[in-house]
Point group: C2
DNA sequence: GATTAGATACTCGGATAACGGCTGTCCGAGTATAAGGGG
DNA sequence: CCCCTTATACTCGGACAGCCGTTATCCGAGTATCTAATC
């Protein structure tokens, strides 16, 4: 899995508590990560329609939808790509004892098992929204999001 | 995910129906895949204790345990490695507004969500055994495993 | 015919290159802002 | 005092290298089998 997923999720949580656009460079120095690379992830999120980019001098990124309607799965798929990790090569149709194509209407047992597991993984990620994450952060570390919100609108040191 | 997982699973299903050791080269040409690379995957399975290697002229690989006691998760972890796909970098402890370490006793909400999803994925794979896969293949394509078994002990064309 | 020594051929095992994708970086296009001059 | 033009500085967006993991491959160590000679 791409490591940028973690950055993207944290940025989405931060964007939950700000109303003004937050620049990518500011988010980068907040998390102490590479600004250019974080920009790439934010571009992916913007392309997926999860966040909206505002250009100009006071521009930046804001959430495109309600935090409760953005799931963790949305972010993961936007950054890592929607294609599943396991892809069946249909090797049962290859080799000297290949099974005839007319007997391969349904996916094989291995492909079904893998697909089911990924489906369970996907459902678990779909069940959690960005709002849930923000609520949890606010409960374990009260005032953190508010402090970040005020820090974001301050001029850099 | 590593593509060799599919090969390893198919090989395990094939090994279910043979009592004599099956050489890696024979399994490779049965599935029409690279012999050398398949050997690597089988080595991983052997190192994990799932299959047992028999050396010598009539050597090869056989299942080390009962097919019902080998889960798909065992094979996936043996080939792909046991380390989870998502690793928390603890970026909440970095940057100008880093949360103090004494407040980071428990994993953050993001890490917990990801861990929960991977746990669900893992449980789904643990619920299916190699015996289940073989039974399914035998029902959808009767006689296939028996044919493979006889073909494996024949001399190569 | 049984036994034993040897040669053989086949097996796995680990060490070694080539490719693709993730990681990291850069500069150009575009725009809201701010300043400044004029009415 | 208000408005318009201009310059500015800041933003995103896509195009460009570097590194690590997966893919693919090879040859050497080791052993059960087969052969053949001997008793």
């Amino acid at each position: 899995m791409s490591g940028g997923v973690e950055w993207a999720l944290h940025c989405c949580v931060v964007l939950t508590s700000v109303d003004e656009p937050a620049p990518a460079a500011r988010l980068a120095q907040l998390h102490d990560v590479s600004p250019s690379y974080l920009a790439k992830q934010l571009q992916a999120l913007s392309g997926a329609g999860l966040i909206r980019s505002v250009q100009g001098k006071a521009g930046g990124y804001i959430l495109a939808r309600s935090p409760g309607s953005i799931t963790v799965l949305d972010v993961v798929e936007a950054v890592d790509g929607p294609s599943p990790a396991f892809v069946c090569t249909e090797i049962r149709q290859r080799g000297p004892l290949a099974t005839p194509p007319e007997a391969c209407t349904a996916p094989c047992a291995i492909a079904r098992t893998m697909a089911g597991a990924e489906q369970a993984w996907r459902e678990a990620l779909r069940a959690v929204s960005i709002a849930d994450l923000a609520r949890d952060v606010g409960s374990t570390n009260p005032g953190a999001l508010a402090g970040i919100s005020t820090w974001l609108r301050q001029a850099q040191a």
